[in-house]
């Protein structure tokens, strides 16, 4: 009897859990979009993500929804691990109500879910910047951010052509995304005539918290610049530790990947963030009217500047809306096909167009942190929208 009762309880719990994921097919007239948000160690990214997604959904709903249907966001929490991310994404992939999914910001997490995306045939926005995602050639996977191929080239060209760098120390997280970005940057630097050997490379584990030993070695060498690539929190620590280690930005230009110009990194690093250049996907306010409108609305609603996760979720949902309305359907295939017809779409990050690599982005920004604020130096269009 006791066993039977336990079994009954187990079945009830399973049924409740299944009900929570909403797999049953609601049959109502809403337009469902699945979004992956982070928590745990990546809670801050998750907060920005949710803000950007809510802004997009509310804006669309206030304007009458998509094809007259109200947008409803179905949330999957990837916490901060690969396994949790794949589980959360799979839960969304099994949800028949969804018309599209905006997936993880972390490329390696998104890559883990991609085989299932192919099987289910749902338009899926991978929010990472790894070229590995695009190289998979999955017809249902899209990216809104500039992938590392473009970022690496932009970093190298800025370092060599603008800053005159000839012997940089390259610090990078060995996480998939940044190892890939480092390789792309090194190839681009070598194409520009800069010799890069193992001595120039300073890879570190993603969990690294102590960058002072790296700076001690860099200062003991004869490097003429530091190029650093990492996520937001490591970026903040790198900027702080550069100051503690005594790196002089007047003698040694400091160039970072997109996170070095992020609100999170600058707020955390405080005055230590000053003087860092960054090649960023997003600078609050962007360089287009749509970017400025997004930023104004974000600040009005949340009382602080936006950050990259907010804008890429906002833009991805706006692209889904545009494709669904162009297709005149909520059908997954119709939306996926319509994404192929995107041309010169005015996103907050810049103008988006379809390219065979399924990466919509066409622009990057060169910024510099001064007085604990990111300042746009120049917007770069790396391919015509």
């Amino acid at each position: 009897m006791k066993k039977l009762r336990n079994l009954g309880a187990l079945v009830l719990v399973m049924a409740l859990l299944a009900g929570c994921t909403g797999n049953g097919g609601s049959g109502d007239d809403n337009f469902y979009i699945g979004i992956i948000v982070a928590s745990g160690a990546n809670a801050l990214v998750g907060q920005y993500t949710q803000n950007g997604a809510n802004m997009a959904a509310d804006e669309i709903n206030a304007a009458g929804g998509i094809l007259g249907r109200q947008v409803v966001l179905v949330i999957g929490d990837e916490i901060d691990s690969l396994q949790a991310s794949v589980d959360a994404t799979n839960a969304l992939l099994f949800n028949d109500d969804l018309s599209a999914i905006v997936g993880s910001m972390y490329s390696q997490f998104a890559l883990g879910a991609m085989p299932r995306v192919y099987e289910t045939g749902i338009p899926f926005f991978a929010q990472g910047s790894s070229s590995g995602i695009s190289n998979e050639g999955n017809p249902y996977v899209w990216q809104v951010r500039p992938i590392d191929t473009f970022q690496g080239l932009a970093i190298a060209e800025f370092a060599v052509n603008v800053m005159g760098v000839q012997n940089p120390a390259i610090m990078f997280s060995t996480q998939h995304t940044f190892a890939s970005l480092a390789e792309q940057t090194i190839v681009a630097l070598q194409d520009l005539g800069v010799t890069i050997t193992d001595a120039n490379r300073f890879g570190f584990p993603e969990e690294e918290t102590n960058y002072l030993p790296y700076f001690a070695q860099i200062l003991a060498g004869d490097f003429d610049a530091i190029i650093a690539m990492a996520n937001q929190m490591p970026s903040a620590l790198i900027m702080e530790h550069a100051v503690i280690a005594g790196v002089d930005p007047q003698q040694m230009p400091l160039i970072g990947s997109t996170s070095f110009g992020s609100n999170v990194a600058i707020t955390t690093a405080g005055a230590s963030s000053n003087y860092w250049y960054s090649i960023t996907d997003w600078v609050p306010g962007g360089h287009t009217p749509a970017g400025r409108a997004f930023e104004d609305a974000y600040v009005a609603r949340f009382g602080e500047p936006s950050d990259l996760p907010a804008v890429i979720w906002y833009d991805a949902i706006m692209l889904i809306r545009h494709a669904a309305e162009a297709a005149g359907s909520t059908d997954r295939d119709a939306i996926n096909n319509a994404l192929h017809d995107i041309r010169n779409f005015p996103g907050a990050m810049g103008y988006f167009s379809y390219f065979p690599d399924q990466v919509f982005s066409t622009a990057l920004n060169i910024t510099r942190n001064m007085d604990q604020q990111v300042t746009l130096i120049e917007g770069i269009t790396f391919r015509e929208p």
Partner: protein, 297 residues
Amino acid sequence: MSLQLFSTLFINGLAMGVVYAMLAMGLILLIRAVGILNFAQGEMFMFGAYISAALILDFHLPFFAMIPVAMISFIIVGLIFMFTIYWPLRKASYAATTIIATMGAAIVLRELAVLIWGAMPRSMPPLMQTPEGGAAILNIGGTPLPWQFVLIIIVGAALMLLIYLLFEKLYIGKLMQAACQNSYAANLIGIPTILTIAATYSIVSILVSVGGYMVSPIFTVNNTLGTMQLQAFAGVVIGGFGNIKGAIIGSLLVGLIEVFSTINFSAYRDVSVFLVLIVVLLLRPQGLFGEKIADKA
């Protein structure tokens, strides 16, 4: 390698080793007192940093007022932890029950920190500052050393020495450990074991929380600070499970290996630490100072 680079790396590694040693020592004290491996030790370390940040940044307490308030807060955190995690499960049939509960507590503490203080990391001012508010640098023979690292070494070493003397040399410390290890006998002679266990939890909480406070100006206050626990575990295993001296030396070794492995093997920093761990386990499974534990057990 120049002497200047060597000195910089050595001090850095030693400071990190002291931080790991504080965590490791806390682990050993709890293992000895209640026989439980506390997987939430790193999160108590993190909570120490958050509480200190709140007192300094939110309540603007001056340093000498902050210290006693922080100590009382650390003790309260330790006691809450003890009475919510350890105490209800102390008579569980399986020791693993409490250990798994500490794993759950680690997750709860991490998320609690975000709920209370938000997800944005907090920057803490260094203890020694330049007139501009930056981190003060100690210059020894042309070698620049951040003062914060020097202070971590001094404060950490002093605190560990005090606790070592208390538990290893003083009668009261031995009494506390004995009472924790054999509560039946202790109760028979009139020692309330709840007090000795509570005292141990309070001491451990102070030790690891001070560690969290000391590192926060370098690593910022964020909910991932607790991951340093992993290196402390490695230090405990290398030194010999259950031995305070071994845990300290093992942790110092881990700190130094970690820092020096950034030369040429930076991408494999963690690998080098755990490679040493495996070699030690292969050659000396009981750890560097493991024999003494066997004797004591």
